[in-house]
Structures are given as structure tokens and as C-alpha cells.
């Protein structure tokens, strides 16, 4: 069943007539973009690596799986984060290639330093991996709440870069370049739709409608 078309029918029924005309006229373009992204995600062949070697990919995958671990719900691994980063490093994050090329060997050195018996990061236990990553952790004190239209400072270290890329891979709109299966959005409770009708949540479901408070009426008279 084509759920996109079902959604459109719902919208057409629930919208005012001019909105319905608009959605109807523009829907083919919106629909084809979304279904293209989804088909790409359902492709049966394993994605091809373009930047990492298979061994490197295994290490990066292990790091991302500690940043957003798999527990009762899916994590970075199920979102295909390593493939997203691989693609990113040949496209929008091309400037970060150096960080990965230099950072990964350092990560392996650090692994040997802390756990001489462990061959490589991916071979360490999850607890050991956390300890290794904590040794790279920056004490970043939040000073402000990040606004969407404020600049995002480039991550300075390898681990910070992987952290940023993992979050991006997990949470980028699944229909606009993110994980086609939308794993991250499911985890945070962000419905995949891009059109919604109120009530939106718990607090607005029984809203009685706006009423002026009595003091407001008094003040407006004075």
C-alpha cells in the first residue's frame, strides 16, 4: 500500500480548499523526492565504501556505536552511521578527511597505551572502549543554548568530529539525505511526516480556547 498517497488523501480531506489545491498541485514533486530517498534505503546490496577501507570502517563503526549505543532501542549502528560518514567525507564534510586520516591511528595508539593487550579499538570490550573515548573527552562547558541560526564552530578534535558526524547521521531528516530507515527519528519520537494537524501533544489536546483573563480586561479599560 502506498502510504504517501493515503497521507495525501487525508490531507486533502482535512485542509481548507485552497490548501488542498496547493498540496494537490505540488505533491508529485514532494512525493518523488521522498520515495526516491526511501528506495535508496531499501536497496538490497550493501552500500559501497568510498573513503574508508573495510578495516577503517569497522573501527569507525565501533566508535559511533559507543557515541549512540544500541540498547533497548536502535543506535548509530542500526542507522548506518559509518556509511553516512563515509559518504559525508567525499561530499559535504570533505574538509574533515584529514581529521579522520590522522585521528584513527591516534585512537589505535591510545588503545594500546591504555590496554596493551588489546589489538585495536574494535576488539576492546564496550567498557574498555568507553574508557578510551573518555580519555579524548573534552570538558566542554555549555555557556549558551545553541540557536539554529548561530554559527556552528567546526569540531576541533577527531573524537569531537566523529561525535558531531554521528549525531548528524542519526538525526538528519530521513527524507532529505539522512538514514532512509529513519531510525534516529523513531528513537527521539520525531514522526517522519512533514505535515501535522493539531492537537500536537498532551498539553494542547483539551485546550478550551484562548480567553482574556479578567485582569487583562481591567487593564485594557484603564
Amino acid at each position: 500500500m502506498n502510504t504517501d498517497l493515503g497521507r495525501r488523501d487525508f490531507l486533502l480531506r482535512s485542509c481548507s480548499s485552497l490548501t488542498a489545491v496547493w498540496v494537490s498541485a505540488h505533491w508529485p514533486a514532494l512525493l518523488s523526492a521522498a520515495s526516491h530517498a526511501r528506495k535508496a534505503g531499501q536497496s538490497p546490496a550493501a552500500p559501497k565504501l568510498e573513503f574508508f577501507t573495510t578495516d577503517e570502517a569497522k573501527e569507525i563503526d565501533a566508535i559511533t556505536a559507543r557515541i549512540i549505543p544500541t540498547d533497548e532501542t536502535p543506535g548509530a549502528r542500526e542507522a548506518g552511521t559509518v556509511y553516512f560518514i563515509d559518504r559525508a567525507l567525499t561530499t559535504f564534510a570533505i574538509d574533515d578527511q584529514k581529521s579522520y586520516r590522522e585521528g584513527l591511528p591516534e585512537m589505535q595508539e591510545r588503545t594500546h597505551e591504555i590496554f596493551p593487550a588489546v589489538d585495536k579499538f574494535s576488539a576492546a570490550t564496550p567498557e574498555q572502549q568507553e574508557e578510551i573515548l573518555h580519555s579524548f573527552d573534552e570538558q566542554v562547558e555549555a555557556k549558551s543554548i545553541r540557536r539554529p541560526n548561530r554559527p556552528r564552530p567546526a569540531a576541533k578534535t577527531f573524537f569531537e568530529t566523529v561525535r558531531t558526524h554521528t549525531i548528524v547521521a542519526f538525526l538528519l531528516d530521513p527524507d532529505a539525505g539522512g538514514d532512509p530507515n529513519g531510525v534516529g527519528w523513531k528513537v527521539i519520537g520525531r514522526e517522519r511526516e512533514h505535515m501535522f494537524q493539531p492537537p500536537f501533544g498532551y498539553y494542547d489536546q483539551n485546550y478550551p480556547g484562548w480567553q482574556p483573563s479578567s485582569t487583562a480586561t481591567d487593564k485594557s479599560k484603564s
Binding site: L18, V23, R146, L171, R190, H194, F196, G201, D204, W210
Partner: protein, 554 residues
């Protein structure tokens, strides 16, 4: 795709060349072309339309799909004029047809009567350029109404006891309330404050060619795919194009206003997409390039006659920059709000619009809104409670729990005009075209910082009254990043203390007009676009009358 338009030759002296197609430029172009004039709009950015917009946060926020690009247009920052400015991204603005109105929040309050006459009411403030406007709220009221009806603003007239008088109600009802709005309204009521439905430049009812808001949740910083956000792109520009007399010329980066020997403007000089230089000839030039690029263009246009920059006999071009003060507080609640659905703001209050300086100990005032404007990546990167681990199991658990249960309370306030706060030309850094880069100099007046912290404290009181499970904010810091770009070519009657007159005409060049955030004399309480658009409607009326009386080229 661009709609059909006339194509004027650069050698064809059109009636008006308008520099910039944003909040002000779009409306000026619409009004002048609807009045029968031939208009060319030069826009430095591309002509994108609804089909080009995306919810990809990387493209929009990191790659500046809609905004000025720091690699092409780097800038510098310093706090005070005695410092050497350092390269640092210091501002963001929309760089596309429609300008910043394409990606803004669309909070659309009118200024109140006090904003225009506050200096007379409370007296001077030492060390500042705090002064009255040469026009009043009553002069602007018909134009506020025009913005609401022609561009499309939703709201509920008479809902705030602090609202200034209005001649007409809103053309459409307010947008639906969000969970954040319900929580905010109920808590405000407990505290004796008067929350009301936010006036928003977002359609609650469809208009021809434009959908009502579909609540997609990618609003602030994003372009609207359904034309519901009343940007210049969705509204004024389309109306200007319908006249058949207005050409929108994108990818046209104006870097000089050309003058003749008599000191009259003859047109605008720009780089096209291939960086070829052209002069578009025009009888009159109107610059609407925003509060940073408008003064920069005047400074770049310095010549023998105007060695300190065009229209700068006052020395005030670029000065008195105001960014608006304020701060954001966060609250987490037990149940899902799902505030990611919908536009950003559904309730505001204006109880603190005019604070009594005797009581609070500083000058200022503000408005407060309930909102959620964070898209998933922005949220994960910067909106989790202080002390949350930055990765790992607990990071994930907090992110998963909080995304649907968080709201913001945003206080917006005044900034005092200081002559030392400015946009100027950096003496060293150049942009990708070899032109001097923008240099921002800014240090908030101490009262602005005090006001921000005061509004932050009220926000925490409100979140406490609302029963937030967790709430936090951060002490106000001196600002180093500009979104609102105000006051840099201020309006006034005295050519010694202002750049433009009450008709938006520069005191020095009779056929050169400026209209955008740079025209503002005071900062208002944080939501300038509505006033910029009302000024643009009014300026267009004034310019039309001057042109019809033959007074522009006299």
C-alpha cells in the same frame, strides 16, 4: 524557477533600481511597480523557489544554502574601536531572493507607541545616542495594517491589553496553539501576566498560490515549501512580478552607487554571476540591502565628493548598531508536547514592554514568547540540560526522552544605540570579489545585559509556575553574533545626527533612499521585521509622491 519578467537593459535608465529583495526591498519593489514605475531589483543571492527548499539541516545550517557564506564573504569582529578586529563569523542574513524574510521565525509584533517617543518620556541616557524617531506610531499605523492584510499576518486583535491602537483587525485568525503555548499561557495567568495568541507572518488560511501552514516543523532558518511563511519571496516579490514592470535580477552583487558630477546617483554597479561588472542606470536608487550591507555599500561608494562614504556627512553611516538583547530558557515537562510540530511561536506576552527604570535599576523592556524552534540535530547539539553526558547511553536516553518534552521561553529586549557599535570596512580582510570585508564592532550597553538577565529570571519563574520538571538558562554574555541588524543609517530630521530623513531620503544625495533595518532609530523589543515592512510601505508612498511631484530629480 523564476516567473516571467521584463528584461531591462543596463543602459536603459529605469525609474528605480532597488538593491536587495528582502523584507523592505520586496515591498518597495511591489509598491513602486504597482504604481506604474519601471523597477529593477538587484539581489546578490540566487532566485530559489519553494521547490529548492529542503529540510536537510546540513545543507541549510552548515552549508548556508539560504544565507551569507563565510568563505565567500568573511568578516571580522572586535568589541571596541581600539581593538584590532579578528576574522570571525559575526552575522547571518538571508542571501537569496526574499532575503532574511525567507528563513526568519515570523514573529510579527508591531512596535508600540512608546518605541518612537521613549527618549522624550524618560529623558536622555548618558553615553548613548538614545533619541526619538522623526515619525510616530500614528504615522506608521496605516502601514502596519497594510502589512498585515497584503503580506498576510495571522493574529487576534485586542487580545493583549498592552497592544497599541489599530485601525483594523487581522485578516485571518491566529495559528493553532502549541503545547508550549498552552503551558505558557496557563503559567502566565497564575503569575498575573497576559499571554495572548502570537501575531505571526504565517498564513492560518490559504491565499491564492499559497498554502496555509501545514505545521512541518522546519520553520526558523528554513524556507517554506508551501508558501505559508509570508516572506518577500512568497508575497511581495510575486506581486511585483505580476505588474510586468518589475525585473528581479538575482546573482547581482552591488558594490557601488554611481554618482554624476552634480552628486546625483545615476545607478548601481554590480558583479553578475560571472563576476562581470555592470552599471544598471536608474533615475533613483533605493538601497534595502540590510543593516550590515546597506552601510557597507555606502562606505564602498566613497569618492572625491564623499571621501568618508556616500551620504555620510554626519559620519554616522554604519554606527549605532543595535542587535536586540534577550535570552532563551529551557523547560522539560513530564508528558510529550511534540512541539517540533508546527511553526515556532504560538503565545507571547508584553507585560514587561516598559519596565520602570526606577524600580528595576536599568533602562529597557521586552516581550516574551513560548516556542520550540530547534530541529533534531540542533536540539541534540545544544539543548540538553547542563550536565548531560555528551555521548553514550545516558546522552541517548536524555535525547530520546527530552526531544518531545522540551520547550523554550524566549525573552526579547531593547538594545541601546551606542556610537561605538558599528559595521565598517575591515582595513585588511577582503571578500571573494576583492572588496573590503564587513567589520563588526559591538559591546552591549550594561543595561542591555541587565535586562537580558532580568528577562531570563522571569522565564525561570514562569517555567517554575508551569511545573517544569527541569529548567535552565545561562547568564547573558556580551553578544558577538548578529541576527537583527538595526540602526546603522538612522532616520532623523537633523542631517548632523542622522543619515536619512523621515522620507527615507539620504540627507546628502537627493535621489538616493535607504530603507531596511538600518533606518531604525531605536531597537524596539526584539521583533523588527514587522516594523521594517511597515516602514517600507510608508517609504514607497513617500517616494511615489516625491516622484510624481517631480521632486526627486529636481
Amino acid at each position: 524557477m523564476m516567473p516571467d519578467q521584463p528584461k531591462y537593459k543596463t543602459s536603459d535608465e529605469v525609474d528605480f533600481v532597488v538593491v536587495g529583495s528582502g523584507a523592505a526591498g520586496g515591498i518597495i519593489a511591489k509598491e513602486l511597480s504597482e504604481n506604474g514605475f519601471r523597477v529593477v531589483v538587484l539581489e546578490q543571492g540566487p532566485y530559489l523557489t519553494e521547490a529548492d527548499f529542503t529540510h536537510n539541516e546540513v545543507k541549510v545550517l552548515n552549508e548556508d544554502l539560504l544565507t551569507n557564506h563565510p568563505k565567500l564573504q568573511p568578516n571580522t569582529f572586535r568589541k571596541t574601536p581600539d581593538e584590532k578586529a579578528k576574522p570571525q563569523r559575526a552575522l547571518v542574513y538571508g542571501r537569496l531572493v526574499g532575503g532574511t524574510s525567507v528563513h526568519f521565525t515570523a514573529n510579527f509584533w508591531r512596535f508600540h507607541e512608546i518605541d518612537f517617543v521613549e527618549r522624550s518620556k524618560i529623558g536622555p541616557i548618558a553615553g548613548t545616542g538614545f533619541t526619538d524617531w522623526p515619525i510616530t506610531y500614528a504615522d506608521l499605523e496605516p502601514y502596519y495594517t497594510k502589512v498585515e492584510w497584503e503580506i498576510g499576518v495571522s493574529g487576534l486583535a485586542g487580545a493583549s491589553p498592552f497592544d497599541p491602537p489599530r485601525s483594523k483587525s487581522y485578516p485571518m485568525p491566529p495559528l493553532p496553539v502549541k503545547g508550549s503555548g498552552v503551558i505558557f499561557e496557563q503559567a502566565a495567568r497564575k503569575l498575573g501576566w497576559h499571554a495572548f495568541p502570537a501575531p505571526m507572518a504565517i498564513l492560518s488560511e490559504a491565499r491564492p498560490g499559497r498554502s496555509a501552514c501545514v505545521n512541518c516543523g522546519f520553520c526558523l532558518a528554513f524556507g517554506c515549501e508551501v508558501g505559508a511563511k509570508s516572506s518577500s519571496l512568497a508575497a511581495a516579490i510575486r506581486m511585483a512580478e505580476k505588474t510586468g514592470r518589475c525585473e528581479i535580477r538575482p546573482n547581482s552583487y552591488v558594490h557601488r552607487i554611481e554618482l554624476d558630477a552634480n552628486g546625483k546617483a545615476t545607478g548601481a554597479v554590480y558583479f553578475d554571476e560571472q563576476r562581470k561588472v555592470h552599471l544598471q542606470k536608474a533615475k533613483t536608487v533605493v538601497v534595502c540591502a540590510n543593516g550590515a550591507e546597506t552601510p557597507r555599500l555606502l562606505l564602498l561608494s566613497a569618492n572625491k565628493q564623499f571621501p568618508n562614504g556616500l551620504a555620510n556627512s554626519s559620519g554616522l553611516v554604519g554606527k549605532y548598531l543595535m542587535l536586540n538583547s534577550g535570552g532563551v530558557s529551557m523547560g522539560v515537562f513530564d508528558e510529550p508536547l511534540n512541539d517540533y510540530k508546527g511553526f515556532a511561536v504560538s503565545r507571547i506576552f508584553h507585560d514587561f514592554y516598559e519596565l520602570d527604570a526606577q524600580k528595576v535599576g536599568f533602562y529597557g523592556g521586552g516581550g516574551v514568547d513560548a516556542r520550540f524552534d530547534l530541529t533534531p540535530i540542533s536540539f541534540a547539539m545544544g539543548a540538553l540540560p547542563p550536565g548531560t553526558p555528551r555521548w553514550g547511553k545516558d546522552f541517548k536516553a536524555t535525547l530520546a526522552h527530552n526531544f518531545t518534552r522540551t520547550m523554550e521561553v524566549f525573552g526579547h529586549g531593547t538594545s541601546l544605540p551606542l556610537e561605538t557599535n558599528s559595521f565598517s570596512l575591515d582595513p585588511d580582510l577582503k571578500d571573494a570579489w576583492g572588496l573590503p570585508a564587513l567589520r563588526m564592532t559591538y559591546k552591549d550597553h550594561p543595561d542591555d545585559i541587565k535586562l537580558s538577565n532580568w528577562l531570563n529570571a522571569r522565564a525561570l519563574e514562569l517555567l517554575e509556575a508551569a511545573g517544569a520538571k527541569q529548567k535552565w538558562n545561562f547568564p547573558a554574555q556580551e553578544q558577538q553574533f548578529a541576527v537583527h541588524l538595526l540602526g546603522t543609517c538612522r532616520m532623523g530630521n537633523d542631517p548632523k545626527t542622522s543619515v536619512i530623513d523621515a522620507d527615507h531620503r539620504t540627507h546628502d544625495v537627493k535621489n538616493l533612499f535607504l530603507c531596511d533595518g538600518s533606518s531604525l532609530v531605536t531597537s524596539g523589543r526584539g521583533q523588527p521585521t514587522m516594523t521594517i515592512e511597515a516602514l517600507a510601505f510608508r517609504a514607497a508612498d513617500r517616494i511615489r509622491d516625491l516622484a510624481k511631484r517631480g521632486e526627486i530629480n529636481a
